[in-house]
Point group: C2
Chain length 407, copies 2
Amino acid sequence: MKPINTSRRTLLTTTGGAIGLASLGAISSLTPAAKALAATQTDPKTALPAYADWKHADSLIVHSANTMETKRTAFGNGIITPLDRLFIRNNISPPSAEIVADPDAWQIQIDGVKDPITLSVADLKTLGVTTVAMVLQCSGNGRGFFPSKPSGTQWTVGAAGCVMFTGVPVKTLLEHVGGMDSTAKYMTGTGGEPIPEGLDPNTIQVERSVPLEGIEDALLAWEINGQPLPLAHGGPLRLVVPGYTGVNNIKYIKRLAFTADQSQANIQQSGYRMAPQGEKGAPTQASVWEMPVKSWITHPGEPDSQLKAGPLQIQGLAMGGTSEVTEVEVSIDGGKNWKKAEFIGPDLGPYAWRQFVLPADLKAGTYTLASRAKNKAGDEQPADRLENNRGYLNNSWTDHALTITVA
Amino acid sequence: MKPINTSRRTLLTTTGGAIGLASLGAISSLTPAAKALAATQTDPKTALPAYADWKHADSLIVHSANTMETKRTAFGNGIITPLDRLFIRNNISPPSAEIVADPDAWQIQIDGVKDPITLSVADLKTLGVTTVAMVLQCSGNGRGFFPSKPSGTQWTVGAAGCVMFTGVPVKTLLEHVGGMDSTAKYMTGTGGEPIPEGLDPNTIQVERSVPLEGIEDALLAWEINGQPLPLAHGGPLRLVVPGYTGVNNIKYIKRLAFTADQSQANIQQSGYRMAPQGEKGAPTQASVWEMPVKSWITHPGEPDSQLKAGPLQIQGLAMGGTSEVTEVEVSIDGGKNWKKAEFIGPDLGPYAWRQFVLPADLKAGTYTLASRAKNKAGDEQPADRLENNRGYLNNSWTDHALTITVA
């Protein structure tokens, strides 16, 4: 990604709020002065920004105005993460809240199809409607566990939630527009964030391409958890690609295209790549698309909790990625011994997570609680993280384990 | 129920807020002066009361400080009703908010078992945990459609929601206390509302008995929709009996007993009975327990909406009561012709509701939209309501139909 000069930075920060660049993927390419500015803007004690002031502050760790995660113990057992507890991660500052004042009026251009067309959300609502339960998770969730401390938000477990999106299936839309071009190999979504004048859009435009397999259960969604999609989560309209990491779920989507090539935007070409440690992202490396199988413990406490001896119910969350989660084991001794945990509550489908429980009776001592999940495709949550330069896709069970003391 | 004298009414109204009696089942037995007072207190324009000031006012019809329902078009398609849009119906004013400040400290007495015991919520959490998705619905939901205008809140469709409760199964608790007494025929829960001194508790105590079949999937719940149960919905601890009407799901529960007889409280003996029109409730009549199969249309609008001609997706909600909903048909001509609707989204189990959709293309004209559901047990949603003196259990599809105009 090219360096961004100060005047451009100023434009950005004034366009969308106080913190335009703090969590931009470009942070490592900023000038020293801009880096210093960004550092002050990622103070963990930052208050909730105006566009998210309806969030439940006690349940969140606020990394910056564009990045906040759910605390490990704030997930509860409702399967669906309440919206006021759901993480936020914006690559750049969101557009003006005016765009959600009349959500039905928002327009999206459909390209790379037999009959290209511009449709409003009101139009989309007449075409079809369905609902999907899915894990929404930032590509960098768990980055905070990498000893190499990759640049970016130091998420632990909470840049993830399980939500219900409602919208029109992309497949239904494709029928309406006569099908995609025969040359199409990717579905490319373009975000509606305003691009400051004079700036090459490719430097900051949130535009991502996913392979055609992603279309199968994808939606253009106008609702989340039974309510109109708020600006903070990509309203009025968001592309959702179940099983794919958050960045592929384009907020305030203004264009959906079926393309022969991947987007030329930096966020696609060099961003969100599984680059080896110390190397920059490049198109030759794997793109961050599908989520791997993963689980973590949410109860009885945050790491280093002090607990009273006695019986308790160890609880956690397990997701299969693009394949249904089928089994979870729990260890209380850091992975030496494992016991199968029980799933509780309804199964919301392959893209949702499930809650698991293992009863235990802990005497005084120190315990390292860990969980490891398997999915239907046969993938097992590994002990070791896949090292990469930006700290993506961490599903290591050792990294997600937590140590507690019982007295 | 005995008349309540003015000094007792004063006690009630000062105990729990401004409106102690407005929505009490006893309203028909009040003095004329008290009736007049109650009438002013059920002004639909009443603002949200303090204990519910976090609710989404635009999604609710506020009947009184103790009764508010979700608007027909505010349900959305998330299956789970967001807490800030969920109806509220309290028989009497809730206890002080102090009881949810330290929810784990709340205590419940377990009686009618081999080893009676007092347990805190913290204790309950060590015994077991599970999650259930279920429709929570006021017994009188749909009362507003009775031409006889029975006394009580004039609910239309919105004194209902589908929520996820988390807690310990009552069956697990029973194992812990050595099983229930051999003479037990009912599970009786007692609410924690404060009873003014000098008042016979049976006159206002919320204490309900359900048959033992209700135990099967019952929970003592401390969470709703993934967050600690708020006071407005019965926190810190609520008995939930999936498939049974709201009143049987005892809020702020302070005692759970397995009893040979039904509670002696008026709310059990004469309240919530299927009394013939014009007759008072009596123990000889059927108690309001299980919910029947039911459905209603939520989209494209409120009754008497004016819509633009063209394609649209007719949407609604369908519940099976105590047996899974299996089918829904939709009519656009007031029930002359029916088409099978499609269920969308995940199936959250037999006690949850499901969303259904039927695409239509409406030309100019007037349409009466109706839906009728069937459940696995073979019950069909009837055309006619079951007439009864207090307007309970309305599941008539004609009553729930709505007329719209298309131009």
